[in-house]
Structure formats: C-alpha cells, structure tokens
C-alpha cells in the first residue's frame, strides 16, 4: 500500500466524527504502516532485524517492534528525505541531554488527530461555538518546536473566538492580562442564552504558578478579583512539573483549579501525550461524566499494558508498561514503547474502558536512594516524561 493511500484512509477514520473502534481496520493499517516504515526508516529497520521481527515475520500488530521513546533522541527516525521535513517537534531540553525530535513531512494527520480528540474529549458541545480560549503556554513565535504550542495554535485557529491568545510570554505568566480577558467575557446573556464559556489550556506547572500568584495577591487590590469562569467553561492541563514549580498531586491541583474557577472538577481535563506521538489521550470526564476518570484512546491508536518482565499483555487491571501504536505517526515510527506505567480502568462488567497513567511515586518509598540516583545519573529524562511541551517557564 502506498503511503498516500494509507494516509488518506487514516485521515478518513479521524474525520468520521464519532469514535468507533475497529480492530480489523486497525490491524490492516498498522501492518501496512509497519511495512512502509521498515522500508524507509533505516534505524528502525535495523532494530526490527536485530529483534527478528521484520514484516515477513510479523503477522499481527501486537508483534510489531516498538521503539523506546528515548530513541527519538539518538536516531533520526523519519521515513522520508530530510529535505522533505516541514516541521520538527522537540522534547524539552536539559543542559546535559539531547532533545527528542519528531520530524514531519506533513502536518495533516497530526492536526486532524489532535482536533478530532479535542473535539471529542474537551470541546464537545462547544464545537463550532467559538469559545474564548486562553493558553497558559508560550505563543508559536516563542516556541516554534513545541508540540504543545502547535496543538494549542491549531485548536485556536480551528475553534477559538477572536481574542483567544497566549498568556505566557518570555517565560512569565501574565496573570493580569488573563484576569482581564476572563472578566471581559459577557456574563449577562440575553434571556434563554447561556453564558459564553471559556477554554483555559496550559501546562500543569503554569496552572500552579497561576494558583500561587492568585494566592499571593490576596490582601492586595486584586483580592476581590473573581476568577469565576462562565458556566460550561473547561480547563485542559497537561504535562508534569519538571522542577519548574512546586509539585502538586493531580487531584489536589484539580480541586484547587475547580475552586478557583468555580467549575466542576469534571470540567478539568488532563492530557497524556508526548512529543514522539502524533495523537494524545484525554480524560473521559466530559464525554462520560458519570463514569470513572480515565484516559480515552482514539480508535486509530492502540494502548497496551505490558508486563515488564515478559513483554506480554498484563491481565486487565494490573500495572504494565504503556505501549502505544499510533497510526498518526506515519512519517516516523508508529509503535512506541513509553517509559510510563499504566493500568486499565474497568467497568462494572470488568471490561477495559480506558486507562490511567501511574505516577512515578508508585513504589518510590521502597526504592529510597534509587530514585535520586536515577535522576542524578540520567540527563533529567526521568523527570521530563509524559508531556508534550517543549517550553520553559523561567
């Protein structure tokens, strides 16, 4: 199958609207994509050969060799000529370490995937209503290689109201501009009309900075400034803390944001993503408000949880390594082995309905010195996972 044909079919799937899992379709496309990537991405082909899993050996998508995310730092994982590159996303850097790179020769699938997921999991009934969007992230001119900023910019252009903008400039969060923007939204709709909701999106650590700024302003003239968001507003937060703010547990951050903005906690949606992937995974709380909070996988992706000792799928509910097969990654490698641990979330019948990403703190107590050693001996990689952001908040 030619790449254009394959991409057209994947795009069609992404644009179908309602999410529908189709295992047969996924298997067929994943195997065809593996054949293409094996043929055009030399480092991947060599790895697959070393593992004895070439297209001639592989019969099911589960057998496709996955590359560890760290490989994006060390290898040029692209299935096209370098001069065809139209965009490169880079992971956040550290002083000692290399940055992971995702090269793209087309943004079509990348943007179609992210918009489909955001419409399904975040915007929902706001699709086409052009809500005001404010981004606690640097604008594209300040972070041209940040996949997160690109995602926000794509969302802003496709669904944002005029006036939607970024509130992090030169590494500083412009709290006052954000506050005024929230205030300007029409709070007195005509009879029968709803307030105009706002979408706030940003990194977890930027939200922590906002909370700290609001707290420290108490007692000043800003003390009375209400941060209440209009009814129906929602918050998208993503990424870890990476030493850029105090660390706040996810549930504590959610509770604090819900209180500050006076919105229900289910309106706060967390994203799990990484620069190396073309697709992202969002909390279920808006698409399934009564079910347990979990991450939902778009149908053109497959999330598997693997036993670290055997490499086999763990039983439902057990902890495993998160492996992601993402058909949006046509230009690089679709099968990615992350460094993260996760667990399937089950419904009352014991069926997996999504997954949760487990924090690094699991088992931390037992490891003692090990964690510090791990962080010291690595180039900071241990602390920079699980986020698609390349920006810094200085």
């Amino acid at each position: 199958m030619k790449r254009e044909v394959l991409e057209a079919e994947i795009l069609e799937w992404m644009n179908e609207g309602a999410w529908r899992r189709d295992e047969e379709r996924f298997e067929r496309l994943a195997l065809a994509l593996f054949r293409l990537q094996f043929a055009h991405c030399e480092p991947y082909a060599r790895y697959a050969r070393a593992l004895g899993r070439t297209p001639d050996d592989v019969e099911r998508a589960a057998e496709i060799p996955a590359v560890p995310t760290g490989a994006f730092k060390e290898f040029d994982l692209r299935g096209f000529a370098p001069e065809q590159t139209v965009h490169t996303f880079r992971t956040s850097g550290t002083s000692a370490g290399k940055r992971g790179q995702l090269h793209l020769d087309t943004l079509d699938l990348y943007e179609a995937s992210l918009l489909a997921s955001l419409r399904q999991c975040l915007l929902r009934e706001l699709v086409g209503r052009a809500p005001l969007m404010r981004f606690l992230a640097p604008p594209p001119d300040e972070a041209p290689d940040s996949s997160l900023t690109h995602m926000f910019e794509t969302l802003r252009r496709a669904e944002g109201a005029p006036g939607s903008a970024y509130d992090l400039h030169g590494g500083r969060l412009d709290v006052e501009t954000l506050r005024r923007a929230i205030h300007r939204v029409d709070r007195s709709p005509a009879d029968g009309e709803d307030e105009t909701p706002i979408v706030l999106a940003g990194t977890s650590f930027a939200f922590v900075h906002l909370l700290d700024a609001v707290t420290s302003a108490k007692g000043s003239s800003d003390a009375a400034a209400p941060w209440r968001l209009p009814h129906g507003s929602r918050v998208l937060e993503t990424g870890g803390f990476k030493g850029r703010s105090r660390e706040v547990p996810a549930d504590v951050l959610r509770e604090a944001l819900a209180r500050l903005f006076d919105i229900p906690e289910r309106s706060i949606v967390n994203q799990y993503g990484m620069t190396e992937l073309g697709s992202q995974f969002y909390d279920s709380t808006l698409s399934d408000p009564v079910g347990p909070r979990r991450k939902l996988a778009p149908p053109w992706t497959r999330v598997r949880l693997l036993d670290p000792a055997t490499g086999l799928d763990v039983p439902d509910g057990a902890v495993g390594r998160i492996r992601i097969d993402d058909l949006a990654n046509t230009g690089s490698v679709a099968a990615i082995q992350t460094a993260d641990l996760g667990r399937a979330v089950l419904d009352d019948d014991g069926e997996a309905i999504g997954f949760e990403v487990l924090g690094r703190e699991a088992g931390a107590e037992m490891r003692g010195c090990s964690i510090a050693t791990d962080v010291m001996l690595s180039d900071g990689r241990a602390a920079e996972r699980s986020a698609g952001s390349g920006e810094t908040l200085r």
């Binding site: 641990l341 490891r367 010291m376």
Partner: protein
C-alpha cells in the same frame, strides 16, 4: 465478642511527648557518666552486635528478612559483612581521637583553663531513613556518647532495629538504655513530627526532599546533622585485564558490591567507568561481570523487584539494544542475576539499580573527572582497581575534591569501617556541642 478499636487522634503526638519525657528524665544519669564511660558503654553495645554469635543480629536478620522485600539470605549477608567491618576498638579510638581536647574524667574534675568540654544537647532526635539498618544503628548510638538522650523515629521499612538497639543497650548499661527511645509515627502526622523536630539537635537520614523538608521546619538555633542521598561507583583500569584470574577477582568482588542489599543504598556502585581500557577489551569485562552477578545470585538471591524498576530496566535495555542494532559498540547482557550494559560513550544514563550496572568508557583521568563533575557533592564512595599507582594517587585527591568520602577497592564498598567519615563528616563531632572555659580557676 465485638472488638472495639478507637484511633485516638493525638496518639502519635502523645507517644512522642511521653517518650521525650522518659528520656529527659533519664538524662541526668546519662550525664553523670564520664565521657570515657559513655564511649566504653557504646563500644560494648556495638560489640554485642558485631560478635559472631550476636543474638540481636540474629533477631534483626529474622525480623528484617520478613519485613523487607529483599531475600532473607541477602539481608543476612548484608548485616553480617557490614557488622564484621565494625571494630568496637576502632570505634573507641576514633571517639578518643575526635575528643582529644575533652577531659574524659568525672565532671567534678572540671576543665583546665582554656579547655573545652562537651555541653550535651538536652535531647537529640534521630530520623532514620531507608531500609538498611546500619546508619540507624550508628546514628542512634552516637549522641549518647555526647551525653544527649536520643529519640529515634523508625522508618516503616525498618520497624525493628530501634527496639533491638534498646534491648542491647539495656544489657550493657541500663542508664544508657533509659536515655534511648524508639518511636514510630506516620510521616504525614504533622503534629507528631513537629514535636519530634523540637529537639535542639536533629540527625536526619533520607532523600534530598526529606532533608529539605526537615530543614524548613527547624529554627536557626537548632543543629541539623543531615545525611542525604549519595551514590557510589567503581573505576576499573587496564590492569584488571593483565591476567584472567585478576579480572575474575575484580569482577567477583564488584558483583558482590552490586548484589549486597540488592544495590540499594548510597554505598552501592551505580555505575562503573572503564578508564583507558581499549574498545576490544571492554566486552570481556562486561561478560565477566555478568557472569559474576549470575554466580552471586545463588548465594545472595535477588529480592522482590518493584514493577517500576522492572519497567525502567526493560526500557534501558531496549534503548541499548537499539544502539547496538545501529552498529554501535554497545552490549546488553540481561540475565537472572542482573543486567550489565556496556556503552560506547560515557554519556550519563539512568540507573534503575536492583542489580543493574552500566559500564561507561572514559579515555583518561581528565575525561573521568569531567564526567563526574556534575555529581560534585553527590558522590559517596569509589572503588578503584587495575590502575597504576600514580593514577590512583592522583585520582584519590581529585575524587576527594569532588566530595567523595571514601576510596576503596571492589568488594568493600558496602562495608565501610565504623569510623568512616560518612558524607565527609567526622563520626561524633557533628552531633556534639562544646563549651570552653577561659575563666581563671579559683585556687
């Protein structure tokens, strides 16, 4: 019959207050002992642990073996070897040397003009950390030498050492035992922790976060003796390869350092640098080390490995295999006894531990020191082998400047002598307070 259990809200706080009351009541008797008597009593207590037939050590092995994720035999060997390296006579000598300017006789003798004496802290709070009991044993005893009663907060991973230590003190010198109390309370019980950290001297062992958190709770007038996170490493030179038996000896000893305590704790080698070893010779070191790890796994079986460690190890192996597949001189040896990854560059990479060792090549001493520079202040001990004498001498000085507190040889990383300057500090002095009298004595 229904059993009614009531969780008293201030139970932990009250336990801390009660224990503090008991040790403060015992303080006068402790201070009436001479410094020499206290040193002697603590040394005899240590001897009751280091003796080959020590009942305390036997009991600690049994109890800790049950509570720990490590294998019983690994716990037993770890304790056995570490305590074997603690010589009570050497402890006495070290104390006397550090307190050379202090009178050892009865307090009534008084100091000569200009002499200094110990001014004991009212009490000392010792915050134990980790699952290896050696630091707990020592830091629980040392303040007693200075005449300060001790409240020891045990860790959830080692709820047994404190109680056994008190029993051993009771058998040697009841006055010392009455001035020592182990206490347990949950880490999140702020009221109990605040009461515990009210001590004028706090000795803390733990993660950098723990040390920082403790530091934030103390007043400037309080003494904090902190033992934070460090890691250890080994440096092997071409001399290891001169003959097969030499290499075998070095890797067997190094693998023992790795297997002990399942490579947890600051004294475990987390990484090995191959200094000046030619590229074609490096695989033989990796294979020999991997083989030695397999052999040790027989006598020192691996304990339970947490899932996140297994995941991290699998991830690191996959990355290394990808580098190897690309034609780089990288070797992955993943066996039941442990994992050895030979890298082709000295670039820093994660160390999942639990018997996972990475071999990083460095051209020369200068490159090694350049690579270690980012870890300045985080290094504990270094084992050297196979280097020529001038290089060893030069490295020892350079490593000391990087904050390394012990240079030794493979096989001895986990068994420092009792007077080892932990984190670069003297044994006793950091936990003591002194007073000096310049007043002319009345004839």
């Amino acid at each position: 019959m229904t059993r009614l259990e009531i969780a008293w809200p201030d139970a932990a706080l009250e336990r801390v207050h009660a224990a503090r009351g008991r040790i403060e009541k015992a303080a006068p008797a402790l201070r009436r002992m001479t410094v020499g008597d206290r040193i002697d009593a603590v040394a005899r207590t240590l001897a009751s642990w280091t003796a080959p037939d020590s009942p305390y050590r036997r009991e600690l092995v049994e109890l800790l073996g049950e509570a720990s994720p490590m294998h019983h035999d690994t716990v037993a060997e770890g304790l056995e070897s570490a305590l074997r390296a603690w010589d009570p006579a050497r402890f006495r000598d070290c104390c006397r040397a550090e307190l050379a300017s202090v009178p050892f006789g009865p307090p009534s003798d008084g100091p000569a003009r200009g002499a200094r004496r110990i001014a004991p802290f009212d009490w000392t709070a010792v915050l134990a950390g980790g699952s290896i009991p050696m630091p707990t044993l020592l830091s629980g005893l040392l303040p007693l030498v200075g005449g300060s009663p001790v409240l020891l907060r045990e860790t959830s991973k080692d709820p047994v050492t404190g109680g056994l230590l008190k029993r051993s003190l009771t058998a040697v010198q009841p006055d010392l035992a009455r001035a020592f109390e182990p206490v347990a309370f949950p880490a999140e019980d702020d009221a109990a922790l605040d009461a515990f950290l009210a001590a004028p001297c706090v000795v803390a062992t733990g993660s950098d976060e723990t040390i920082r958190a403790v530091g934030h709770k103390l007043q400037p007038s309080q003494r904090l003796v902190a033992y934070g996170h460090r890691f250890s490493l080994a440096v092997l030179g071409p001399g290891c390869l001169r003959d097969a038996s030499g290499l075998e000896r070095v890797v067997t000893d190094l693998a023992l350092d790795v297997a002990r305590w399942d490579q947890s704790g600051c004294l475990s080698p987390a990484v090995v640098y191959l200094l000046g070893i030619e590229e074609e010779d490096r695989p033989s070191v990796a294979h020999a080390l991997s083989g030695a790890l397999e052999r040790w796994a027989g006598g020192l079986p691996r304990g339970e490995i947490p899932v996140e460690v297994l995941a991290s190890k699998a991830f690191e192996c996959e990355e290394a295999r990808m580098r190897a597949a690309a034609g780089r001189a990288v070797l992955v040896l993943d066996g039941a006894g442990g994992t050895v990854i030979l890298e082709d560059t000295p670039a820093p990479r994660p160390a999942p531990l639990h018997r996972f060792l990475r071999l990083l090549p460095v051209r020369d001493e200068a490159e090694l020191l350049e690579r270690l520079e980012p870890y300045r202040g985080h290094l504990s001990s270094v084992a050297l082998a196979g280097l020529d004498e001038p290089t060893e001498m030069s490295l020892e000085g350079a490593l000391a400047r990087l904050g390394v507190s012990r240079v030794t040889e493979p096989g001895r990383l986990q068994t420092p002598p009792v007077d080892w300057p932990h984190d670069g500090m003297p044994l006793l002095i950091p936990m003591l307070r002194f007073v000096q009298s310049d007043r002319a004595r009345t004839p």
